[in-house]
């Protein structure tokens, strides 16, 4: 059974279509990354899936419950870390978690056990009685993730969990998130515009822009479907004539020259030796040749560019 299934889900704000005919299936146990630039419709999608907003058209089922007809059933089974961490800064870490434990009717013993279970791997247990107002943003974000998992939900929504964190804090949070995800075995719907994060954490990703779902699949699927394989060549004596010859080779889709390095998008990476041979014959002194598939960022940019081109 799917954890999330949407069918032509649409929501507008005035003339702006925030989510436009979104059809999506996310199997249980998946870490799904929803990628898109700011204002692309990611947060609105989460709000629709949690039943916090009603759709104008279409429908969505979350854990088998209709988000319009049974939003309470959806929220009982889900956890959410939304755009802001939403923690009470005058309360301590333990009090924040305890409050959410109360909300989900957990017993006192269970709440205490759960607080320890969640805070210990995050190195926050020893500081559980401190008011969190003076904590760093990274620590608060970790606590917010723990709060999301407090009631052992089947599905959690994380809206840009590392946004605004420095690279060290982001990386630490990603590690903690991976640990907790493995420990809890929940389905995760994660929105982000950090593509490295999506690549690291997600089994499947969807790319959204202007409310349109542009592509869905595993990161490697998307890379192979939407982007050409790449050859990076570093060397000396690369003249403009040589660059022109390479560009005109039938294997080459696109060629860029960056800091004396050639980046060649190929139709077929298994025939990359033909390009290397051409360069050697032309007298280039090659220092390094590296074959690589495009990363998720390239895929993302390509999809967004294609959509822009389509609109124009």
């Amino acid at each position: 059974m799917n954890a999330i299934q949407t069918n032509q889900l649409t929501r507008s704000f005035g003339a702006l279509k925030a989510v436009d005919r979104l059809t999506l299936e996310i199997p249980r146990g998946t870490v799904f990354g929803f990628l898109g630039p700011n204002g692309s419709g990611k947060t609105t999608t989460i709000r629709l899936l949690l039943g916090l907003l009603d759709a104008d058209q279409g429908s969505a089922q979350v854990l088998g419950f209709d988000t319009r007809e049974q939003p309470d059933e959806v929220r009982v089974r889900c956890g959410a870390l939304l755009e802001h961490h939403g923690l009470y800064e005058r309360l301590s870490a333990a009090e924040n978690l305890d409050y959410y434990g109360h909300i989900w009717h957990m017993s006192k013993a269970d709440r205490e056990k759960r607080i320890r279970e969640l805070l210990e791997p995050l190195d926050l247990y020893e500081r559980r009685d401190e008011p969190i107002g003076r904590w760093s943003r990274g620590m608060k974000q970790k606590l917010a993730v723990a709060r999301t998992l407090m009631h052992r939900p089947e599905l959690i929504f994380l809206d840009e969990p590392t946004a605004g964190l420095d690279p060290v804090a982001s990386s630490a949070l990603r590690e903690d998130l991976s640990t907790l995800v493995a420990q809890e075995g929940v389905t995760i719907f994660l929105t982000t515009h950090n593509l490295a994060e999506a690549e690291k954490l997600c089994d499947r990703v969807g790319v959204i822009n202007h409310g349109h779902l542009l592509a869905v699949g595993s990161p490697s699927d998307l890379r192979s479907k939407t982007s050409a394989p790449r050859l990076f060549v570093t060397g000396k004596d690369i003249t403009s004539q040589i660059v022109e010859d390479v560009k005109n080779h039938p294997l080459v889709q696109r060629l860029q020259q960056q800091n004396g390095r050639l980046i060649v998008d190929l139709n077929d990476l298994t025939r990359s030796h033909e390009i290397v041979a051409l360069l050697v014959r032309a007298g280039v002194q090659i220092d390094e040749v590296r074959k690589e598939k495009a990363d998720l960022e390239d895929v993302f940019l390509q999809l967004v560019e294609e959509e822009k081109g389509g609109e124009e």
Binding site: G86, I103, H105
Partner: protein, 244 residues
């Protein structure tokens, strides 16, 4: 639902009483309130502070003051601090959140008033009770108990409506202050009413039983509060609050 209401109310009260908080209702300021209204003023007024029927006005007015100081924060504050959306994404029903916050404000208002009543009683007995134990007249005592709850409720209802509409805590506080001015305007204007009119009103009141007046007033307050709660329930909708 009752368990959920208590959960929300307990968290609200815990935040209100958190030491050194920014709402200005810390344990320290609470102590100052009890000191002023439960010790200093009773010592200045002597036995009358407990025995005079006029002091029921004070016990009726006090909760309005206490509650209006914290109520603006209930929804406007949650929205301003970005905690409301997380709360709305939980399993709590709209009613539980609304009634939990109302209940917290109500409880804060009447319990603080009762605490000050008790402190006043102890102060007056220590200072002026040489001829025997002093206690509030029974009608006044029960009146103060009932009206402290009703006035706390009224203030909480008005505050919740203001807090739901206001864009920020500051705006909510300004609206509450303006509302208090309007409510107390009749008392301020009383000095401009001709003496003959006041005498006529006094004669009219002499013919009415005070208990009867109190009961009618209580019923009117209760009806007004029920209407305000109904309006608040209509205003409290997740989708509206999320978009706000």
């Amino acid at each position: 639902m009752i368990a959920d209401v208590i959960t929300v109310a307990t968290k609200e009260l815990r935040e209100i009483f958190t030491f050194g908080d920014v709402r200005g209702r810390s344990k320290f300021s609470l102590l100052i309130l009890v000191l002023i209204f439960g010790i200093v003023i009773p010592l200045q007024n002597g036995r009358d502070w407990v025995t005079s029927p006029i002091s029921i006005m004070v016990w009726g007015w006090m909760p309005f003051l206490w509650v209006s100081g914290i109520v603006a924060d209930l929804f406007a504050g949650e929205r301003e601090r970005h905690t409301l959306e997380s709360l709305l994404a939980t399993r709590l029903s709209d009613r539980s959140i609304l009634f939990g916050k109302l209940f917290a404000a109500l409880t804060y208002g009447f319990s603080l008033t009762w605490l000050i009543m008790l402190a006043s009683l102890i102060t007056v007995n220590i200072g002026f009770g040489s001829e025997g134990l002093l206690f509030y007249p029974m009608e006044m005592f029960f009146g103060a108990i009932v009206f402290s709850i009703l006035i706390s409720g009224l203030s909480a209802c008005i505050g919740v409506l203001v807090s739901l509409r206001a864009g920020s805590v500051r705006q909510a506080q300004q609206m509450m202050s303006a509302g208090m001015l309007v409510l107390f305007l009749p008392f301020m204007l009383i000095q401009f009413i001709p003496k003959s009119w006041l005498e006529a009103a006094g004669n009219l009141l002499d013919n009415i039983q005070p208990v009867q007046v109190a009961v009618w007033l209580a019923v009117i307050l209760l009806v007004v509060e029920l209407i305000l709660i109904a309006i608040a329930r209509r205003m409290f909708q997740r989708s509206k609050l999320i978009l706000d």
